[in-house]
């Protein structure tokens, strides 16, 4: 019962935002900017830098808002724009490094990962090489398929798969290392 009025309200706001209504645009920005900053933060270590990318993404959102057909989730549409903005920025800045490093596999490393805080998980992701991080983010968090990742990053599907596999192992190793430090402190 409550979903329908919310949906129609969002439509109205979007319609006003298309007409360059600053208030409507601000409403959308206030509603989605925290989540979108979190998305950008997955790809960029620095929060301020992530905020710049988020603003750049929102500029695109408001410029191309008329192209949104209300066929899917509005949040998902904005999120995709943010991800693409981050990827294109990273690709321009530095070519993606597809690392092929050896890793140490720990069988029971993920047992206590659920207890790890978001900031620690983010730290682990930040420590990933750029190729691992991008593929892992797109696959594990954004839900892209390997074919889509391959197209987006202009790599082969097998490369995408191997990069994901190595990213996972890297995270495990990082978690073990983190736990060891914490245990050592205790």
């Amino acid at each position: 019962m409550k979903i329908i009025p919310l949906h129609s309200q969002q439509r109205r706001i979007i319609k006003n935002a298309i007409q360059q209504d600053r208030e409507a645009q601000q409403q959308l920005f206030t509603q989605f900017s925290p989540k979108m900053l979190g998305v950008c933060r997955q790809y960029v270590k620095d929060v301020h830098h992530a905020e710049e990318l988020m603003l750049s993404g929102f500029l695109k959102v408001f410029t191309h808002l008329s192209k949104f057909k209300h066929e899917g989730s509005f949040e998902g549409w904005i999120r995709k724009i943010m991800v693409n903005t981050c990827i294109s920025y990273l690709r321009k800045k530095n070519p993606i490094q597809l690392t092929d490093e050896e890793y140490v596999f720990h069988e029971h490393a993920v047992e206590n990962l659920e207890a790890t805080g978001v900031e620690d998980i983010q730290k682990l992701i930040d420590g990933l090489p750029s190729g691992y991080k991008m593929v892992f983010n797109l696959y594990a968090i954004e839900g892209y398929k390997h074919a889509e990742i391959a197209t987006e990053l202009q790599i082969t599907e097998s490369t995408s798969k191997s990069q994901l596999f190595k990213a996972r192992k890297w995270l495990q190793a990082g978690y073990v290392q983190l736990n060891n430090i914490e245990n050592g402190d205790k």
Binding site: Q20, R22, Q25, Q26, F29, T30, S33, P34, K35, L37, G38, R41, Q42, V47, H48, A50, E51, M54, L55, F58, L59, F62, T63, E107, A109, V110, L113, E114, T116, V118, I121, Q122, I125, F136, Y139, A140, I141, F165, R168, K169, L171, Q172
Partner: protein, 266 residues
């Protein structure tokens, strides 16, 4: 299974994560949005400007090209049309060097000028019907306009063509004006009787005057008929001049006229 668990844990942890943007974030975005339409408008204006410039250049180029095409191309060639001598040979005509103009003076009794015989124009083959052209006479003193086209005179038809052509060639070589002296004398002055009366009146011997003119012309190496020259002088000298010093005046006039004639011939 374990790797998928990592994905799930990371996804659940990060997907719902929210980071509050800085307080100035919206203001900065708002500024960027304000700048955007102006930029677009400027782009639109610049596009219109470019389109107008291109249109102007194209239309100017079109006009220039069109003008060039419309203008007739006149070849810079001098066409020399040969004179059809075969026709003249057939009819045994004499081709006389063209006479530019002749000054004709009529007497007060409305007598016709001495050029009594009509001059016939040499026409092309198709229209070879000879028509008499009467000389145009303007008041007492007029200019008889004669075309530069070769003129055929009835009176000289019997003259052999070769001899006539040689004479014509000679005349053109000497660059002299070929004039019938008697015709010119009568045309320029009055009738013969009147001229005699004129000399009798002022007690002047015309033969003496003619000799003076001939002498002067010989001295100046000018090949002009003395009688014609005298006729010109008589025409121009006023009555007072005759009274004072006729011979001296004649000498001066001969010199002036000789120079004028030579200048005109050159």
């Amino acid at each position: 299974m374990e790797t998928n668990k990592i994905d799930t844990i990371v996804k659940e942890s990060l997907k719902s994560r929210a980071i509050a943007p800085s307080g100035s974030a919206w203001e900065r975005l708002s500024d960027q949005l304000d700048a955007l339409p102006k930029q677009q408008r400027r782009n639109w204006f610049s596009l219109v400007g470019y389109a107008a410039s291109i249109l102007l250049i194209v239309s100017v180029a079109f006009f220039i090209n069109t003008d060039d095409k419309n203008l007739p191309i006149v070849p810079n060639k001098i066409v020399v049309q040969p004179i059809d001598t075969s026709a003249s040979e057939k009819h045994n005509f004499k081709i006389v060097a063209p006479i530019e103009e002749a000054i004709v003076e009529l007497n007060l009794k409305n007598e016709l000028p001495i050029i009594s015989k009509p001059i016939k124009k040499f026409l092309p083959k198709k229209n070879r019907n000879f028509k008499a052209i009467q000389p145009e006479v303007i008041d007492k003193t007029g200019i008889a306009l004669v075309d530069k086209i070769p003129v055929i005179q009835k009176e000289v038809i019997e003259v052999p063509l070769k001899k006539t052509l040689q004479e014509t060639k000679k005349a053109s070589e000497n660059n002299r004006i070929k004039v019938d002296r008697n015709a010119l004398l009568y045309a320029v002055t009055h009738t013969e009787v009147e001229v005699k009366d004129f000399y009798t009146k002022y007690t002047i011997n015309r033969e003496e005057a003619l000799q003076v003119v001939q002498k002067e012309l010989r001295r100046m190496h000018i090949k002009i008929d003395a009688t014609t020259m005298l006729a010109e002088i008589e025409k121009n000298i006023g009555e007072e001049s005759f009274k004072r010093n006729f011979m001296r005046t004649i000498k001066g006039k001969v010199t002036g006229l000789a120079i004028a004639f030579s200048n005109r011939n050159n």
